[in-house]
Symmetry: D2
Subunit: 359 residues, 4 copies
């Protein structure tokens, strides 16, 4: 079970951002991470600040309306950055400069140079733990798949999809302008999983993507789509292909298949909320998770516990920060192909032949 017993040493952590995700991170840290203590939260939205002042009253959690002010807190050891993508990099850098450990939600940035800069600065501060939040790597099923990988020979094709329930409120659209597009914002998990299973050393050879606008025509002017399909070919005969959607009718449908020379591993091909099936006049049915939280709540708790343990026990972080950069390179190539209609090609060092968006 792994020891989670708190002793004298506890990590004082703050959560930056109080959107849906930030609130959940507080919930996870308080409810399931005994070696951490939430000492502060912040948001730049007045309504979120007010909500938090009410909700966290009497709990010892300080509420800030400024990230910069929050990280001045002397007792603070670490920060979990859960703000919008465009400030991930600057907030991570600020935290590092204050000597804080950082768990930063994906992606590090939509800008490759900026993302690489974060990695460089983090590497210059080896005593600090800085980790990219690829939460799926902490999911029990994805881990079980990894453990069984040897049984399927050499993996050479990964299919992975991230399909979200249609949100008629169009909530996500307000972030669309700054999240880098569907292949950076949404597909980056799938890209990371393709590396997780086929090899983190893999270099892209070509990328191609197409897309469609089905429910959110307002994404068009933002150069984005609400459904996208892409292929990434890696040097060495490995292939990954992806489907991302913002418009599923049935729920959060996230699955991955890894095909190897001697077998195939499937993760969550038929999504289900729980162990219940109902039979009636319309056949047999089961519920589907509405969103990532129902599917990945446990993974977030594992991620938080392991990040906290890596700090307190001074062990390497479980996900290397460099992986955040590779995901962005590939995600941007797919997004560029989506817009240009052309194949984005890379040389054998993984550098784009068109000179864009590579290091």
């Amino acid at each position: 079970m792994g020891s989670i017993l708190p002793t004298d040493q506890v990590l004082n952590i703050a959560v930056a951002g109080l959107g849906r995700m930030g609130k959940r991170h507080v919930h996870t840290l308080v409810g399931r991470v005994p070696r951490a203590k939430v000492v502060a939260v912040c948001s730049t939205w007045d309504n979120e600040v007010e909500w938090a002042q009410e909700a966290y009253q009497g709990t010892g959690i300080q509420v800030f309306n400024s990230y910069e002010d929050m990280i001045q807190l002397p007792s603070l050891n670490a920060v979990w950055i859960s703000t919008s993508t465009d400030v991930h990099a600057s907030q991570t850098l600020a935290a590092i400069n204050k000597g804080l450990h950082v768990l930063c939600e994906k992606p590090l940035s939509t800008d490759l140079t900026e993302a690489q800069h974060v990695v460089d600065v983090a590497n210059a501060h080896p005593h600090l733990k800085v980790m990219a939040g690829y939460s799926r790597r902490f999911d029990a099923s994805y881990r079980a798949a990894k453990e069984q990988l040897a049984g399927i020979g050499a993996p050479f094709v990964v299919r992975s999809q991230t399909c979200d329930l249609l949100d008629d409120t169009g909530f996500f659209v307000r972030y669309a302008a700054r999240n880098g597009g569907i292949f950076v914002d949404c597909c980056i998990h799938d890209i990371d999983l393709s590396l997780f299973y086929m090899g983190e050393h893999l270099l892209p050879k070509s990328a191609f993507a197409v897309g469609s606008l089905q429910h959110h025509p307002e994404l068009g002017p933002l150069q984005d789509v609400d459904n996208g399909v892409g292929i990434v070919e890696f040097w060495g005969g490995k292939i990954a292909y992806f489907y991302c959607s913002r418009t599923q009718a049935h729920g959060h449908d996230v699955c991955t298949e890894i095909t190897g020379t001697h077998g195939k591993i499937m993760v969550n091909l038929i999504p289900r909320t729980n162990h219940v099936q109902v039979a009636g006049a319309n056949g047999i049915s089961h519920a589907v998770p509405e969103e990532y939280w129902q599917r990945f709540e446990d993974a977030f708790a594992t991620e938080a516990n392991e990040f906290v343990a890596s700090v307190l026990d001074d062990e390497p972080v479980p996900v290397k920060l460099e992986l955040g950069v590779k995901g962005i390179i590939i995600g941007r190539a797919l997004q560029d192909s989506l817009l240009s209609g052309e194949v984005v090609k890379f040389n054998e060092k993984g550098q784009r032949l068109d000179g864009k968006n590579s290091l």
Copy 2:
């Protein structure tokens, strides 16, 4: 998500028993129940006491080798009783007498009179929360089934099974002499679920059971079997039937089906550990949970959180203590039928016609 935020008010709780289950309860309380604080544990086994002194060092958890000593602890508010069945009742009574709230593992007793006495004493102390640990009632799937019950009309048949992985060490056999037999120890969850879904007011009309010894002939002299099948007929045309096994080759296989006049609900007909399936030369396969913990870990956390909340917020306990008694009446009837080969019959008040084991 329900507020789990600890404020100034926290429940000081002790865990009695440090067997496999007791250790897990400590783990759950520490890791997932922020409103509780584990202040003490106890065991009468030297090796468990020594293990705990080592494992809980520096955590503030006091380790006792005597239940009676432990409950003297002035700071104590509540105790989770996880010892062997034969002392459940006496320890619960002792705790009540010390003014402690109690969460007692099922069954309250193998002796019906004793179980009823616990209920009577608890009812005489209405300010104390005393709850029977029917953990499945806290499982997300069983709860979802309950919520969907209206969709299947009037439920009239429940099939339920509790089938454990074969344990070649015969670990459970050493408890067999005092656990009341397979239909009291194992089937009691299934009996409770049949009441949960068809009506807690139901009264038994007849019970019949047969059994088989497949791997543990040493159970024979103890008047028990390692596989048993039983039927309970309730007054009003309702039927429950059960299968309990200690000898499954593939894992912990616990499922329940509720048939109603307009549909059927199935819980966990095909057990699976996670969302992974593996395809290879031998077809497509998935893993099965080895034991109840993998299946019900979340349910135990929910149970603990809800029990703690019922105390701190002075709400009714989520499972009425009286249900513990009804389960024992029916479990004993099945066990008696198993041994006699005859049908055990009840009158319309739920009293056994043979005058045994009923109130």
Copy 3:
């Protein structure tokens, strides 16, 4: 694939009974049994005779309104008896006396003595093939289960159910008076499967059943129920338990589980019509077969082809006629227990201690 090529030798066969099942047998014989030629059909119902005269016009199939007349047909080699249960035995005997091979639907009779007499007469005519129509033994899944039996060690528990879609027209009720009751009419397939998997030599030790009336109170005066659950204990520590229903909301739900000392085989735990699943706002669902035909159409074709081959190639029939008798003994014991509320017990020779319904 097995040779099904017709050559000069073809079996001339007649179908007795033109109810739903009889028509389907004609359909199967014409469409999928190239070594057979349907030469005649009969029914005592005027509307069925008229329907057949129209439907089979120009096909060479002669239509009779009398079974006795039909079996005079000189070209006839065999008859498939698909009439109501009460005439199965007499028609089989008449056919044997005319020198015809017989495939008789289950059960041979609701009367044990009559059934045994059919067996005796058939055994006295060894050149004739006389077979009991246990169609499930010809189903690909049940056969695959049989082939994999060695992999689960010694089988010792069989659970099997035959649950039919609720038919609000109450069609089946008009046959209820003469079909022997739910455990003879419906459960007999499950009883046969328990023997198929645990051993055709097994002898019953005890039988107990309960039932409920949910949709068809008119069955009460006929001493029958619309839902029944029963247990059969066999000598040697083997157990079978059954659920039969006439009132399922979702379709034809027929499944079987075989538990052995080293594994378990499941047949059709979650029924499904085809390979389609539909995801939408209400989750993910699939269709369920409405009736036995959708589930067992292929099995009937296999049964017919194998019966025809056994005649033309003079091989033993694939299902021994004696099995028909054992199924009736056990089915009647369950039905008797249902009515009496008592356990029906057998001695070690499989004879009922109460002297009823055994040989």
Copy 4:
């Protein structure tokens, strides 16, 4: 059930080609198509001719070693062409010229001009039924998916795969030189299904494909791969993406998903041979069909019956011949992209911008 009763009018049909598929077509026609009579077969391979002379002895089926000779047979009405792809077109034309109806296996040709010529000639003989053998359109599950299409709103993404069991004998490689490559030979079914569900009128806008050689390096010189992934974008915002493989470890894994604006339909996401699951020490597993025959045997019977009915009843053929041409256009575009590494683009009339392989 549809009438399959043969009357005076029966279709005399010949099967061209006695490879694995041709033999199965004879089997289907004899065993499951009562309105057809197989009068002849042919092969140019001596061993196949010899095998057939033996196997079909006494059945009235004439065996030819020349297609041209066979179609001279005066009694012949129709021919089922099941030879290698490179002679599909010429044999179809020869049959049409002899006044025979034709069911021709896919693809009509690997050469687009030739395929179109077949269509033109067929259209010039409207009294003859000439049909492309897209067998999946006759599968019960694909048809059920089609019937439920209205429930998912407007379909806009189709994912489809045809993945065959690895054949270590490399049997298929000997045909690789003349089958047009993996996207023409294998993917053509998936392409057709994308049109079947999203609209037969759709015109391609772009196509891109990548591939990998995992088990059959000998395909390299033939400009083919053993695993390929491709995307086809259609005008109007519709997308299809495909995975084809010759090297699956677990069996014949053919599935299709149709995503619409209001739901998703899944066909066969988890392939299974039958209704059996086996639980044991390694979890729970089920068998996977080894090849297309186990998955599509019924579809071939339906296809044959419907083709025969279209001739005898003078109804339109169930699959328009023109669809054969569109499949080839798209399949060739994917194959060309695989080889060039570039996107193949089409104008709004569906003509390739590079002038190749379009009409």
